[in-house]
Amino acid sequence: MKMKYEDKVSLYNDTSQCMTENVPIEALSPFCNPYMKDVLDLFKRTAFINLSKLQSCLKEGKGGWETVLGQDECKMPWYGRDLPIVEHAEEIADRIRDKVGKFGDGEDSVTVMADTIVVKIPKEVMEVSASRDPVYTWTMVALCQAIAEVFNINPNTDLDGCNMLKAVVFGRYPQSITFSPGAPVSGFLKPSNVVDGLGAEYSGITVNHIVAMVNKRTMDGLALASILEGAAQWEMGNAVGWYERYNLLGYAYEGFNANNLVLDLVKENREGTITDVVYSTIIRAVEDGVIKVKNKLASGYKIYTTNDFPLWNAYELAGTTAAAIVNCGAMRSGQAAATVLGYINDGFALETGGLADPDGGRMEGAGIGFAFYTHSIYGGAGPGAYTFDHVILRGSGFIQPPIVAGMCLDSGTQLFSPEMTSSAFFKLRDMFPLLQDPLKKVAEAAEQIKGEIKKG
């Protein structure tokens, strides 16, 4: 692989130990880094079948709900069927494997974990498909067929049972194009028809899900959010050509603790304010030669200049992330992260005499919108319940990691807590060792391939 850019970074873990030195930034791209590829592959191809939920819904005759918490506006107990689905988990899984797994290259596509069947749709199927919807469609159809076979449900034996089974698994689809929230079949990513914006699939994961998957470890949260959001930016076309180095540097510093910058700024300001972090970022950037004083105005006000805006932007993002950690850490509350993203920007712009603020002002716009929608000043939900394909949040690709960091630091002040919205995702972390220690694994994968990236 050819190395296009000269930039190299060292990656540090959350105890400030160097994990890998002098890695070309290309090694942190989802097109090169094997760990990132594995994570994205897992997120793209995996579906979950919650058998206990399926069993209880089928028993109560409940399906097609549209409420998140109630989930009970459509109940038809007279069509309820009391089937021992959880007891037959292995048998159902075998039948799904027969229908879906045979298209793969032998990789075990279906596994049973307690009351959950995890289905990984074969790569070959995904290659032939134009979308990644087989995760939902194949899993749902195979599941309905498997249950019909195991419990002998067909129009001759149980006509209403067929309809009820369809209603529980598919909800109101296709009359309504969305599936019921918390339906028995789910995936990491949203169905493609409800994702808000082209290429935004990987950023459509709820903040609290990410927080739960990293077990509230802040720097791991930054890393996993950066892998997903970084991949989404590539898919949206926001990292092509002129923006490639800008994005690679941005996520390296913001998400993967490049050169220990985020942690240095946090340590230096462990008892400091947000503005203190802005000053520390500028001091560090001047020392590292990223920015310098160009001239002074009559009042003594210094105008700074840079020859390398993508790198200065990465420093600003690291500063913003550190400020979010310092502020949310002092308050131990996730709600304050949006404030930092919305208003730290004019701190950077005014302090440097007008150098462009993080993400060229997009972070400020998205951050202010997010602060409005997560506060009583305008109403809305807690930050943990948002997905970043949302219309007010997709303006900047760099706001997701600091929000995740803020929620990792929350000590229980949120109504929409990770335990409430995402309890199943704490378990997923144990199911998939791949999701454990993402920061360390990104660094290891980068170390492994850095020799292959050569100047060309």
């Binding site: 959350d14 509230k216 470890r217 802040t218 720097m219 002129w242 180095r245 800008y246 942690l263 240095d264 946090v266 230096e268 462990r270 304010t273 947000i274 503005t275 000053y279 520390s280 500028i282 001091i283 020392e287 105005l297 009559a298 009042s299 003594g300 006000y301 020859n307 805006f309 932007n313 950690i325 310092v326 502020n327 850490g329 002092a330 308050m331 131990r332 509350s333 709600q335 304050a336 208003y343 712009a349 005014l350 302090e351 440097t352 005499g353 007008g354 462009a356 060229g360 002002g361 202010i368 602060a371 409005f372 506060h375 009583s376 000043i377 990792c408 630091l409 000590s411 229980g412 002040t413």
Partner: protein, 264 residues
Amino acid sequence: MAEKPKSEYVPNIYPGKDVVSERRKKLWDKSRPLLKYRSVAEDDITQILSHRAVRAAYVSVHPPLEEMIEPYDPIKHIVVPTPGTRAGDRIRFIQMSDSFHLPSIAPFGRQRLYFSRFRGMDTVVYSGREILEMRERDLEKVAKMLLETEIFNPGRSALKGITVHGHSLRLDEDGLMFDARRRYIYDRDTGEVVYIKDQMGNVLDVPVPIGPPFSEEDCKKLCLTYSWDTQPYKARTELFEVMSRATKMRVIAGFNPEMIDESM
């Protein structure tokens, strides 16, 4: 790196050397203390905030941090929590509104002041109001500073938890900012502004006097905004230079980040 003394670096804070610019530099520089204009008793502040009964215990939202068992995360041991956080206090708010007429601070100015002076805080700026959310005991502490110092003009700034409308309206016959809920009145006998309702508009058992409004001269002296009768257009030369540079930089950075160079 972390040991390097900060004293070598002098923050810019704000361009310009006119009176308004100097005001802004002072308010947003945490090394410069704010002048105290009046004293408000702690119990009175608790009353106006209306989050708990006077001298009642603080309600907690979670156990004290030291008693909580949390998943391992080194960051949580690096950042120092505030006293309210350590105790597990609820998060409560104070919402301030500032008049357009020669204000001693405005919402955008509050945000920068909060960012530079307070730890563990959450704020959102709106056109005529600014909400500040913190752990309860931390909030009461900063509320004292917000009400006692030069940034609070009892006539032109107010606590408005709800029904905030009025910052851009004409002042009333006593020179106070309009308030649809009549939370505060001007006591002509004592010459002080008196809160007869708390920030949520509930009537107080005992009214809270909060000091006399600033004189017109003081208002002009402490004004944070540029205006024809304080600092005229030409005073803002440096500010315009910086803002136009920032705007240009943003446009270029958004178009192609690699295009920015030292000559700009």
